[in-house]
Amino acid sequence: MQTLTIGFLIGCGFGAILYMGGATSYRRILGTLLLKDMTIIKLMCTAIGVGTLGIYLLDLGGLANMSIKPAYVGGVAIGGIVFGIGWAISGYCPGTCVVGAAEGKSDALFTILGGLTGVFLFALAFPFLETAILEPLNFGKITLRDLAGISGIYLAIPFSAMLLALAFFVLKDKYE
């Protein structure tokens, strides 16, 4: 019960940030993908920069409940390509369409409905996809820390610094 409440509250914060940060805006998402508006990229770089540092600081004390996704290269790469096409067409991702629908945007609602349909199609195709592209080339739940064989914080600090520098100093708002 407590976990459900925590989930709800964290979700509220997430939804509020996406709305206030402008991530539910079609022109910002497409502006990002057309490489003209850097706002969303800078937001993401900052979030990942802070998040990487936060998670690996927690990890130092053994307090991070990590959840690493397995690297089955074929499925992740093909899934990423299909996802990217859908992202550019709808202007939403699975999280922002939920927030956009809450704002009352009907295209966001249709993206949710499409998403539920997409999952249904995936569930039907799963037995085939599993043997064809999900199982081969699976390297398991690996992280850069496992590959480098050093404590994660030594990777997290420079990576985080790089992302924050990118967001704060390198990327400029408009390229036009």
């Binding site: 206030m20 022109r27 093909i78």
Partner: protein
């Protein structure tokens, strides 16, 4: 496109999101959205056709784990809706006009003002989004933000292929026409 700033700057939003992710990882686990589309499908399908649903290898995985009901992850997505609902009601005056509504100006300029065309594209985009996300095992939140923050190899791969294909598709859609 005239400059119209979001309600909070990318700096504030980015830092807040990074801290929220850290908090979630400390309390329960990192953020993720796309799995909950499966849970929703599984819950609905289980009501409509329990037998067929339990026999589906994919829906069954999520149904069994979550007892055909809502868990932490689903409440998180439900919370996103609630958070968006409350902030958008309170702050809609501060939201730039160009960010409002479901007929974006730049879409209209290229694809025309047909409402059903925009909604059909949003629906079809949604199908691809979630089909792709389930193939890859996550989406922007679970893979890109949470996954890369955990330095997961699979999430770096997802990020590269997603941005590559989305950038290419956006340029194709908005290529100079005529």
């Amino acid at each position: 496109m005239q400059e119209q700033k979001a309600i909070i700057s990318w700096k504030v939003a980015g830092v807040a999101l990074g801290l929220l992710l850290t908090l979630a990882t400390f309390l329960v686990k990192p953020l993720g959205v796309s799995t909950q589309f499966v849970v929703t499908d599984a819950i609905v399908a289980h009501q409509v056709a329990p037998e067929a649903t339990e026999n589906n290898a994919y829906l069954n995985k999520y149904g069994e784990k979550d007892d055909w009901g809502v868990g932490y992850g689903w409440m998180l997505v439900f919370g996103m809706f609630a958070g968006g609902l409350v902030t958008s009601r309170l702050l809609s005056k501060k939201q730039p006009d160009l960010d409002k509504g479901s007929m974006p100006k730049m879409w209209e300029l290229v694809f025309g003002g047909s409402r059903s065309k925009r909604l059909a594209a949003a629906f079809f985009g949604g199908v691809l989004l979630l089909f792709g996300a389930r193939l890859a095992g996550g989406c922007t939140s679970g893979h890109m933000i949470s996954g890369i923050s955990q330095l997961a190899v699979s999430s770096f791969i997802f990020g590269i292929f997603t941005f590559g294909s989305a950038i290419a598709m956006a340029h194709f859609l908005y290529r100079k026409r005529g």
